[in-house]
């Protein structure tokens, strides 16, 4: 067992689809939001929507940290990278995200800024150790999964007494984002977006556990099923959600028990609690200012906070006015509702963040689902 191929067995997927079709005969419509970009990617890549009955719909959520990072933060990182003494270390995912005025980290690098792509937060530490004359800044983004490694890097830097390492912290939290969606007028009052339940985060939950979702299940009466990122994981989660709806239940269930424990990872949570504290509010692309939805570095570790060391301040910045990323991230629109989609905005020349990350709804649609659309328009040419 290698824990990958087993969960991609088409025979089992079809059997699950049959069970879902049988179970979903009870109601005329089921609408579930998959929060994570990882799920969005798997759903598109494996064509899961084609296996599901037409009235069981999956709505893409805002769970892609690259997609929800506002333009202003990208601009701030680019300005920082233009300082001659700074080496900016970034995960590869962020390199091509458009800032204001058609800039990006990749273009800033081409223009001479010292920007380096890293795999792990500890790579940035190593660069700081090897190049003491440089001010090495880790451009940290990500949900709860990616936050502990940043905390680890800061603690290790403190232990090593590194003077030239700081973190530009953009870590965000999953539960406040889910709450923001459920509280939005579109869902709560206007009913423009109807959600019956959530496919809960996979790897975020390995850290925070299944317990933090209990509040949503209870308060908003929406079932949550935590699911892995493989296609059979998603199919099984959909079946579990359909059954909960049919039975009038709204509980937190864990499909991903092989990786997620109820309490999450205590070691990782302790590290994060030691280094970070809540920000009063943080701007999300698409969701606007969300209270207590992000982390900043505690005062005890202020020496490692790039925002303090370099006096960084975000300047107001606007998304491309034609870009519908915001509405796509809220589940109100689909990628094809955007007039930039597939015309000027493609993964080669992304205008919005959802087209940059392979987990973004637009990139997933462009890469996999546009062929499905084409087949639907002209069924005689569809490949069976």
């Amino acid at each position: 067992m290698k824990h990958i191929a087993e969960y991609r067995d088409g025979r089992v997927a079809r059997a699950l689809a049959a069970r879902i079709a049988d179970a979903a005969a009870v109601r005329s419509s089921y609408r579930f939001m998959e929060f994570c970009g990882g799920h969005t990617h798997a759903i598109s890549r494996y064509g899961l929507e084609d296996l599901l009955p037409a009235h069981v719909r999956l709505i893409h959520g805002p769970g892609c940290p690259v997609c929800v990072l506002p333009v202003g933060r990208i601009d701030t990182a680019i300005r920082l990278s233009e300082r001659p003494d700074v080496t900016l270390c970034s995960y590869g995912d962020l390199m091509r995200v458009p800032g204001s005025k058609r800039t990006s980290l990749l273009k800033a690098k081409a223009a001479g800024a010292d920007i380096r792509m890293i795999y792990s937060a500890t790579d940035a530490l190593r660069i700081a150790e090897e190049e003491p004359q440089r001010q090495v800044v880790l451009f940290a983004i990500g949900f709860e999964t990616t936050t502990p490694p940043t905390a680890f890097a800061i603690r290790l830097a403190a232990r090593l007494g590194l003077q030239n390492f700081t973190v530009f912290c953009n870590h965000v939290l999953t539960p406040p984002a889910i709450q923001s969606i459920l509280d939005s007028p579109d869902v709560r009052e206007l009913g423009r977006v109807r959600l019956d339940g959530f496919i809960g985060p996979a790897h975020v939950s390995t850290v925070i556990g299944s317990e933090p979702y209990a509040f949503f299940a209870e308060e908003f009466a929406k079932p949550v099923v935590i699911a892995g990122f493989e296609p059979l994981d998603v199919m099984q989660a959909v079946l579990m959600l359909v059954r909960q709806i049919n039975e009038g239940r709204h509980e937190v269930e864990n499909q991903y028990g092989r990786a997620v424990r109820e309490q999450g990872n205590e070691h990782a949570k302790a590290d994060v609690a030691q280094v970070f504290e809540l920000r009063k509010r943080f701007e999300w692309r698409g969701l606007g200012l969300v209270p207590y939805s992000a982390l900043r570095i505690k005062r005890e570790y202020a020496a490692y906070d790039a925002e303090r060391r370099f006096g960084l301040e975000d300047r107001p910045a606007r998304d491309n006015p034609g870009c519908e990323c915001g509405a796509v991230l809220r589940g109100e629109k689909t990628p094809t509702d955007c007039k930039l989609f597939g015309t000027v905005c493609t993964p080669e020349t992304p205008m919005g963040s959802c087209m940059v990350s392979s987990e973004g709804a637009c990139a997933a649609h462009w890469t996999y689902k546009r062929f499905r659309d084409a087949a639907r328009i002209n069924p005689s040419q569809a490949v069976g």
Binding site: M1, K2, H3, I4, E6, Y7, D9, R11, V12, R14, A15, L16, A17, A18, R19, A21, C36, G37, G38, D50, P53, G63, C64, P65, V66, Y91, D93, Y119, S120, A121, T122, D123, I141, G142, F143, T145, T146, P148, P149, F152, R155, L156, R159, P201, A202, H203, V204, T206, F229, L232, Q236, Q255, G257, R258, A259, V260, R261, N265, H267, D271
Partner: protein
Amino acid sequence: MCLAIPGRILSIRGEDPLVRVGRIDFGGIVKEISLAYTPEARPGEYVLAHVGFAMTVIDEVEARRVLDELRALAESAEESAPDGVGYHA
């Protein structure tokens, strides 16, 4: 972004939890991964690695239980529809 890849621990070095690392086999590619957050991990076990850190040890028993359940479901579906059209895709 939150992707984590399963890999099998070949060996472990370092006692200090802050610098304990494992050599992990990801289907033939071997990388060193921090085990700071999985002090319970032992050689031979699978972990899920994300940005250079093992975030959780895979529970083999639970994985086996779910897979057996799923495969049984597929077999029962095929038995009830021997001509292979037992699904409404």
